[in-house]
């Protein structure tokens, strides 16, 4: 079974555990109040969007873009837009040299 599969349950019936799992996937640390609130609200919103299950889409393909553009490419050349790495890093919380510094990954 996949990491996040609810096929054995009624769709759009979100429990507290479901919300916690989703929050973990989305890297959100929710308070108990938020968990309670979101399980009610998300269930309601998902029940609303379930009206799509009744729409007949036989023979139709999903839309991926709307204006018909295909293969937008440009020459593989370096452009100078007038910015230095330092300009682009100026709002970053922690920088070392020209790189973004992050906390340790493990431990």
């Amino acid at each position: 079974m996949c990491d996040f599969c609810y096929n054995h349950r009624q769709m759009a019936d979100l429990t507290r555990d479901d919300i916690l799992k989703l929050a973990r996937l989305a890297r959100l640390d929710l308070t108990d109040d938020e968990v309670a609130e979101y399980s009610t609200e998300l269930t309601e919103i998902l029940q609303y969007v379930e009206l799509l299950q009744g729409v007949d889409v036989a023979g139709l393909e999903p839309t991926n873009q709307v204006t018909g553009l295909t293969n937008v490419t440009r020459a593989d050349e370096v452009h100078d837009y007038g910015y230095t790495p330092a300009d682009l890093l100026k709002g970053v919380p922690a920088v070392e040299g020209d790189q973004i510094k992050v906390k340790r990954m493990i431990g």
């Binding site: 989305a26 890297r27 609303y48 969007v49 139709l60 709307v66 709002g91 990954m105």
Partner: protein, 467 residues
């Protein structure tokens, strides 16, 4: 204080030396201060605006918008003030480069004087969902201005500047235009580059102007539109100035937009507007797009899905806000995002994560993209026989502050008449159609993709008929 002149006249006056950009900027800044109680503005870019005005007065950028002050929604990257998208997670973010739209406006001499309030990350329909407080409707301070470009719409109607920029993912330019009495234009998808604008739903996001007149909106669009190497979804532009007299057209009234749920006074006003168009010689027919009632459900799957992806970059590592006491990277992600995002951003990230998750992707996301195809096909079929589609911009007038805050689904429903244009990528404009129960409402006109010029011509005529 009398209102602003038409934008083309202001610029002509500056170029002729009859008006000073410095005076125009000071006037805008003075009105912004005088109307601060409406909370339409997050921050001014006063220092930079004054510098740019001095440069214009010295002969720089004497273009089509020479010296014209404007206000950008605070999800556009602009020099001279932080770009916050009205979210705490971006508080203190000083943009390293500017949006293409801003660069194009500046090249023609326009001067950004302030950043407008919005629902955080443009998530909302009322501007109540801002970490900088709600914006008040200029007509009635107990009511919302609509959203998410509520600060921009209020700014234009309060005459803080001659025009403001907004973004429209599901109605965020047109809805506040309707609620405040402004003209709000969402062009064809891809007509204006989104480079340097905080992304929400990338297959839906459009940039457009909020103005007092259609001619002003057309001029601003003309400057901003066109291909941009920094946004590969952009398309070629047409000319949107020197608009001609709208030819006699066949106009379809969307049956599904005139059904139950319309506020009675809105219906009366829209029907009266339709009669005016008929009297002006246009052929009016009723058109049905039977899948439109499903559009909002499609939108509320696709939009959060794209939001959950676009907002993953706010991880505490790249922008201003970070949780300093985290012990490791994972905790830094979790705590930075949780302390930085507001309720609605979290709600949409959660929905988006759910509909994209393994086991549900086909049932929600793929299904929604397929129903989107059906809606696009219905628009295409309708536009085979008729030139424009019309209906109300919103089912009702501006609601009371606080009325929908506790019920997210009810809040989403106010976008029910605007989201379809985003799903289909067609241009749509909200033109003021008078008052309903004492509050402004808009008539929405839609045209086929790339028919923005024809849309502006009919909108200009409509504006005259309804004035």
């Amino acid at each position: 204080m009398a209102g602003w002149l038409p934008i083309a006249e202001i610029a002509a006056g500056v170029r002729a030396g009859e008006l000073k950009a410095a005076d125009l900027v000071e006037r805008a800044l003075a009105v912004i201060e005088a109307k601060a109680e409406y909370n339409a503005i997050i921050a001014t870019t006063a220092d930079r605006a004054r510098e740019r005005a001095a440069a214009v007065d010295a002969g720089d950028n004497q273009g089509r918008l020479a010296g014209v002050p404007f206000i950008a929604k605070d999800n556009f990257l602009v020099f001279g003030a932080d770009t916050t998208a009205a979210s705490n997670i971006l508080r203190g973010f000083d943009a390293p480069y500017q949006s293409t739209a801003i660069e194009k406006l500046e090249a023609e001499g326009a001067i950004c004087v302030a950043k407008a309030n919005l629902d955080a990350f443009a998530h909302g329909s009322s501007t109540e969902n801002s970490d900088f407080g709600t914006t008040f409707n200029p007509v009635d301070k107990t009511r919302v201005p609509g959203g998410s470009s509520g600060g921009s719409a209020a700014a234009v109607m309060l005459e803080l500047a001659p025009f403001a920029l907004g973004t429209d993912t599901g109605g965020s330019i047109r809805l506040p235009a309707s609620y405040c009495g402004a003209v709000g234009l969402k062009p064809t998808y891809g007509l204006v580059s989104r480079s340097g604008v905080v992304a929400m739903g990338s297959s839906l996001d459009c940039i457009g102007p909020l103005t007092k007149t259609v001619a002003d909106a057309a001029l601003v669009l003309d400057v901003m539109a066109g291909r941009d190497d920094l946004d590969s979804t952009t398309i070629e532009k047409d000319s949107y100035v020197d608009l001609g007299i709208a030819p006699k057209a066949k106009i379809g009234v969307i049956k599904e937009y005139m059904g139950e749920g319309l506020q009675p006074a809105v219906r009366t006003q829209i029907e009266a507007a339709i009669e005016r168009l008929k009297a002006a010689g246009h052929e009016i027919v009723e058109v049905s797009l039977p899948s439109l009632p499903a559009a909002l459900a499609v939108y509320y799957i696709l939009c959060p899905a794209e939001v959950s992806s676009n907002l993953s970059r706010y991880d505490g590592q790249r922008y201003a806000h970070t949780y300093k006491d985290a012990k490791n990277l994972d905790e830094s992600y979790m705590k930075s995002r949780s302390t930085g995002f507001g309720k609605e951003a979290k709600r949409r990230i959660m929905i988006g994560t759910y509909v994209l998750s393994s086991g549900y992707y086909d049932a929600y996301y793929k299904k929604a993209q397929t129903v989107r195809t059906k809606i696009i096909n219905e628009f295409a079929a309708a536009f085979e026989g008729i030139d424009f589609l019309i209906g109300p911009t919103a089912p009702g007038t501006a609601f009371k502050i606080g009325e929908n805050v506790a019920d997210p689904l009810q809040m989403y429903l106010v976008d029910i008449l605007t989201v379809a244009a985003n799903l289909a990528g067609v241009p749509s404009i909200s033109v003021p159609a008078g008052l309903a129960d004492g509050l402004p409402i808009g008539l929405q006109i839609m045209a086929p993709q790339r028919a923005d010029r024809a849309l502006l011509e009919i909108a200009k005529q409509t504006e005259g008929l309804l004035a």
